[in-house]
Symmetry: C2
Subunit: 322 residues, 2 copies
């Protein structure tokens, strides 16, 4: 698989997850941010180059399936004698909150991402949620500034590595975090004020992910703050939200890479595509929901997003003088 100008360079975990929900559970299924991002971009016909590390326990048939879907895995180190990163978690009854039950870093403990030479001019870079110092080291290895750098992170790094996190945030175009993380990062309760503060830290765009409550895209500065809201599609059943944020990110950058655009209008559309793709991930455990999404099914869901916010204004009487 060649690495072209619309290929996305993805740095993120490729791993195992054990997942408990009120409705079922799965043991040691394939997961990881890099995995979901790659699968999601592939559903838009976008190739990606993955930089990650796995142990020799990682199933080769899984890697073969990823390659077949358009992921170049030359950047994945397979550590002989090592075990892959493992996370296990349990979702609350409302499926919005979750508790981490166990984390085994394994081969991730001394992960040091090395970007293959031929990928160092990548135009589209997705930095999945890992140590912010490693995210910075990826940027340092590039020969040219990409067209677009998207960074995902989480509260864990805000708790233990705020300064390295802020310094990598200053170097990216788009930051994706959830609402509580936006509040923690900015110290502001109001999401409007939080967005203004965070956009002052460097990124041109901020995406606040709110899970079943949708996603907010912010852009601009001060009084000129612009925003776009994309709802989450109401689903019959949320089976497993693990990887939904990464699926969103993969669809978001994948769509921009396929368009070759980074303007606000393209970003809005990319948020919708990412949200539509994420809805498939929620409908099954692990990558099962996203890996076989066909273009027709995706388009139907994008139309549903359009339909659910469409309305027309009628002519109505003005307020009476009172």
């Amino acid at each position: 698989m060649s690495f072209g100008s619309s290929s996305v360079l993805v740095v993120g975990t490729v791993a195992f997850d054990s997942i408990q929900t009120p409705f079922g559970s799965r043991e040691r299924i394939v997961g990881g941010a890099g995995t979901y991002i790659g699968w999601s971009a592939s559903r838009l016909g976008v190739n990606s180059g993955l930089v990650s590390v796995v142990g020799e326990d990682f199933p080769s048939e899984e890697l073969a399936a990823m390659r077949a879907a358009g992921m170049n895995l030359e950047g994945i180190e397979i550590k002989q004698g090592g075990r892959s990163f493992f996370w296990s978690g349990s979702y609350h009854m409302d499926m919005n909150g979750r508790d981490t039950l166990e984390t085994e870093l394994n081969v991730l403990a001394d992960f040091n991402p090395v970007i293959p030479n031929e990928w160092r001019k990548a135009k589209w870079l997705m930095l999945g949620n890992i140590d912010p110092s490693l995210q910075s080291s990826v940027l340092d290895q590039l020969e040219e500034r990409p067209e677009l750098v998207v960074l995902d992170t989480m509260n864990f790094w805000m708790d233990i590595a705020m300064e390295p996190l802020k310094s990598v945030i200053a170097r990216v175009d788009v930051l994706t975090i959830n609402d509580e993380e936006a509040r923690q990062l900015s110290g502001e309760r109001s999401l409007v004020k939080a967005a203004r503060c965070i956009l002052g830290m460097g990124p041109r765009y901020l995406i606040i992910k709110k899970g079943e409550h949708g996603a907010l895209l912010f852009h601009g500065e001060g009084e000129g703050l612009g925003y776009f809201f994309c709802p989450a599609l109401p689903l019959e059943d949320v089976v497993d939200p693990t990887g939904a944020g990464d699926t969103f990110a993969g669809g978001f950058i994948g769509h921009l890479a396929s368009l070759g655009r980074t303007d606000f209008e393209a970003m809005k559309e990319a948020v919708v595509k990412g949200s539509a793709l994420a809805s498939f991930t929620c409908e099954a455990f692990g990558t099962e929901g996203i890996r076989n999404v066909a273009n027709d099914a995706l388009q139907e869901r994008v139309r549903a997003f359009h339909a659910m916010t469409a309305w027309k204004e009628s002519k109505v009487p003005a307020v009476q003088a009172v």
Copy 2:
């Protein structure tokens, strides 16, 4: 103030609230569902007739201001020697949750709504959150079935009066509740399944209010379930959300009354108007935010709702054969 064919009959509390938020507090300011509903409808130029009860402690200048805004208060009983209903509550840091600190029913304890004769052919009826048996007794007093009956309620009645609640729900057109209440009423975790279940109980439309996460309107049955989502406008500061749901309801039914329509398209627009009006209520304590909203300011906010969900689809490559 005459009671015409586009006037809204409103049954709901007119009361005092004491409110604590992380950002300030107010003692014994004017509140109550009926009050907010009336003020909200008045901002659309829609007159209302309020049925409620207050004590002799309720300020006559407040009643005069309500009359001047287009509210007919002939249906409000002023109990000599009585004290008005009083609620006091404290909002959590995130302003989404709140605790009730004190409730004094006072004159509300033996409230028995009596609909004035000339209002018994009302075409638009808003049943604010009160005891479901009283909501039923209002319906019993009407001479004709209104064009539209909207009912608001809360988890409190689901806990202590589920059967009377279900029997009044079966008699209305639109039910407004929040997401947790929809789950409690239906026993379903998925909002889609909850909506389908609740629409099977009688109402033609269900509105699920999600506060800062917007509102969902559901319509139809079984496989034909249709929905519309209206986000909440991101605000610089949420000062006091008290009354936001009632403001929403007043704007919703007020808009339909002004249009004279009850179809799904009109409902969508009414949800947007209600949401826009509710955003004003959140920006100040009590009724201060809503009572002076001018048409220009409202229209600007309605445009903002449109803008924040608008996007266009580009031509994108189909998924590659893999």
